[in-house]
Symmetry: none
Subunit: 188 residues, 4 copies
Amino acid sequence: MARPLTKKTDVIDAALALFMRKGIKATTTRAIALRAGISEGTIYRHFHSKEDLAESIFEHNLDYFWKYLKGYLKNTKNTEEMLQAFVAGFFEFSRREQRRYGFIISAHQTELKRHSREKMKPKQMLTKILRLGQKEGIFRKMDLSLASAMVIGTIMQTIFYLKNGRIAVNYDDVIKEVTQTCLKMVKK
Amino acid sequence: MARPLTKKTDVIDAALALFMRKGIKATTTRAIALRAGISEGTIYRHFHSKEDLAESIFEHNLDYFWKYLKGYLKNTKNTEEMLQAFVAGFFEFSRREQRRYGFIISAHQTELKRHSREKMKPKQMLTKILRLGQKEGIFRKMDLSLASAMVIGTIMQTIFYLKNGRIAVNYDDVIKEVTQTCLKMVKK
Amino acid sequence: MARPLTKKTDVIDAALALFMRKGIKATTTRAIALRAGISEGTIYRHFHSKEDLAESIFEHNLDYFWKYLKGYLKNTKNTEEMLQAFVAGFFEFSRREQRRYGFIISAHQTELKRHSREKMKPKQMLTKILRLGQKEGIFRKMDLSLASAMVIGTIMQTIFYLKNGRIAVNYDDVIKEVTQTCLKMVKK
Amino acid sequence: MARPLTKKTDVIDAALALFMRKGIKATTTRAIALRAGISEGTIYRHFHSKEDLAESIFEHNLDYFWKYLKGYLKNTKNTEEMLQAFVAGFFEFSRREQRRYGFIISAHQTELKRHSREKMKPKQMLTKILRLGQKEGIFRKMDLSLASAMVIGTIMQTIFYLKNGRIAVNYDDVIKEVTQTCLKMVKK
DNA sequence: GATGAATGAGTTTTCATTCAT
DNA sequence: TATGAATGAAAACTCATTCAT
């Protein structure tokens, strides 16, 4: 990738780091400019407003996350493996891309305008997997959105506590355990 | 309880409602005063700062939540029933005390200073239940904090989607389903 | 003196201490009440306003200072001794009544309304002494207010530096030295 | 010097005028902005806080004062002349740069944080002169800081009364008289 | 006399956004 | 494109004073 001609990426990188750590509201444009090594005015050359910047970053990262998960699912042979890969991918992403993950979660839960939240792509992906499993008869019948919510909740909360150092288990064991639990939740 | 002599409760009530709806950062002292029907200065007679007010409200509500759950567990006869009651209590609280619940969750996840977040009493309650079940041999052996995280996550995420209208299932059925799922997660 | 029935003296004592340390403007009624162990409202039972309190304290202390100096001059036998006693009294007062002295000086120089500052009684006392000395022919002819200003300035500035620990001489030596110097300034 | 690109000097000029007239505490940022013809926010682009602004102005003016005095001492031929020039310079500065002088004095005496008050350059200059005179044997032996304090006090107090219209002598005569008196104070 | 909660006008400070360069 | 000083509206917070108890 060639050296970008504009400073747009600098803005995005800096904003992501700060949004994630302190939230959107609590992050000032001044802080973003400072961290990006640019001037405040430059932000407005690339984005209409701070809100716009945040939304843009959110969508970009959600997309990135989604592609990351897709990569994880590529080589799976059956639905159960898909679910396992989904869980593993979720955890891996949260670990490797801490800033992106942190931002997605916090923005999703409180800070963004409703319309941006609608398309929680990874959740849709999970829903598909579960639907497939139900069709195949290996997952038990239950409302798909409910099931997705429960699985995602299990994963996310675990990550949350893991991050806050409140779970004293080795990382790989945690993934294994959560994966098994999620399977138990949805299988017959 | 007699009519209070100060307007402290007015401040707290107004702040809770606003914090919950828009978050702490996005709620202004002006809005709080307006809603409470008092002057801004009055807020500062009772609390050092907005942050102080938020923390105070958080702790009070967490405590309230905890007592609410304790009430639910009172008449349980065995560990399994305790877990069921815990789940049901969680859901009931989130429905009956929407504002309190919403505020607790959002404050816990992003807005409060670390030290206030540490003491998540309901989670400790769940941990106790799980430990008991493991001793009795009805729950399978697994790290307690991990198990708690997963169960709480399952519950909270479901509530989150339920609130956003993305789960098209009847409320009671959801509770039943989630309860069953949680049992599945931890039982042998 | 019997135990006073009101808390007026408590207010005065507390206010004096605070005014002197931080200035009138920077002292809040809240701080005064706190230090006096009374409520803010009580201040207004005894004084019209904070300004009124300050002025009242100023005048009271100035008077006190003046009487203190008069006591020092009582047993002097001639004009030169009077001047010596004046210098010594000034120093003694600043040492024994640090809070009173400090407040008088700072209020006099910046914080009070003009009209309160007019009557700088100790300076008038000095003027009298100098006039006497000139009549007797032992002090040289010079404008009286100018001479008073210089003598008072010499004394006050010395005290100021003494207080700030910037003069490394023994206290009694300082008084002796300043006394001599003041005599040199005005004598023929 | 070219027209400055920022309004920093406008802020400083306005603040100096107001600080001097009413003191730091009693001067509002609103008043500063109004007088400077800028918005309040602009003040904070250039200074961290009002206190910071005041300290900055204090140091700048003290430096200015010091350079002014140095200019006065340039063409002196001996120590006695130096002392005369010091006195004359002090008076001249207080008359020509009334605002600066007034601000330096009041800030020095009560309003600034201790650390800013420590470095009273002009007094150090005087101390040097006195030390020189003692070495040469024309000034009598006495503690240097004490001697400086007395001389500075004599000068400052005279200026203070002069300003308040309480000395009815012609300005030049006052300087002459004070100069002579100061010499008397320190000479053998 | 004494209280202290409440006031409200005022203070300092913040910050997203604009605009001349 | 990029800058960064300037803006101004709004934020958090302060405090002398009042008043019902």
